[in-house]
């Protein structure tokens, strides 16, 4: 995890040049194509600006007009101030707004903590990256286990 975070801090090397260009052009362009291994990182506010707050990644990103990206196989990880992995959000697909730093979808998603004791499923969501706020719109189901069952690798 530390190595991964260091890698991210060094400047998003995982993002392809094509995707970066598409994002930079934003509304003005009609980007085409797609990129793989999309990752964007949110950091805590000062004085903890060196600490990663969340990492949003996807197996594939397709640029859309207006600075939007269609993200496939979304995986969102949140971290505590000490770097401890906290929650993991996964979804088959979402739309990521690079300007508003939000991710949304009408489809399903799953949220759980790293030891599997807390798991949520629902349909339709909005993730606000800047304040780590997740809204699930429909059919929310939560399971709470007394004991940890799994130890997910963040």
């Amino acid at each position: 995890m530390k190595a991964e975070i260091q890698k991210l801090k060094s400047g998003w090397p995982a993002i392809s040049a094509a995707l970066a260009l598409a994002v930079a052009l934003g509304v003005r362009a009609q980007p085409t194509g797609h990129a793989t291994d999309f990752t964007t990182t949110e950091y805590y506010e000062p004085p903890h600006q060196q600490q990663v707050k969340s990492i949003l990644s996807g197996a594939e990103a397709q640029p859309q007009p207006g600075g939007l990206l269609i993200i496939k196989q979304l995986k969102l990880r949140t971290f505590g101030l000490d770097g401890t992995p906290e929650k993991v959000v996964t979804a088959p697909e979402c739309i990521y707004d690079t300007q508003g730093a939000t991710a949304s979808s009408a489809g399903p998603l799953q949220l759980q903590n790293v030891d599997g004791t807390f798991r949520v499923e629902g349909e339709g969501f909005l993730w606000r990256q800047t304040n780590s706020f997740l809204t699930i719109s429909n059919n929310v189901r939560t399971w709470i286990e007394k004991d940890a069952k799994t130890n997910l690798k963040p």
Binding site: M1, D82, D115, G122, L134, T135, V140, T142, I144, K146
Partner: protein, 219 residues
Amino acid sequence: MKRFGLIMMVILGGLTVYAQTNAITPGSPVSATNGSPVAPVPPRPPTRIDSDSADFDLTGHLATYRGNVRVDDPQMKLSCAQLTTDLPESGGHPSRIVAETNVVIDSTDNKGQTNHVTGDKAVYIYSVQNGVTNETVTLTGNPQPQVENAQGTQAADVITWNRANNRFSFYANYHMVLRQGFGGAMGTNSPTQIKTTNFPPEAKENIDQNASNPPAADF
């Protein structure tokens, strides 16, 4: 890497949900009074919470469930319009859960007695101090919260439910309606109400009741 855990929950019911006081670790052998091992305790089923929608503040570690909230826990079922619970950073039980609007709790204690609890607001507090688990549910609001069970119906402005010993305490404007046959006086289990007692509104009544001890009220 620290393990991150969660909650609760119970919610209520967990809110109660979590409400397992002095719980035995599932799967671990338990010694009987004669020291011989007994069968392992089966794993506790998970607590489930369903709702129309929900907000998760992952920075503030808070979850808010809205619309047709239902909590299904091995020890109780709860329904309400909104439920807010903290999400412990390092796992374990939530320390505070608040159920609001049309709160209905149905629970069964370890002696098989059922309690039907209603109120406008229920606040579940969980804490462990010096190895002792404190777990309470406090009901308030309008309409007046009440507890209904085999003995009858008891209501008060504030009702505190100690989950550790399944005792209810009633504060202010206490009101009781006994069912016929409670205590053997009527010789029947008919649900017909036979007596109503109103305490002065300004009085602070604290009447404990559980399955083994009759209410302290003097009828």
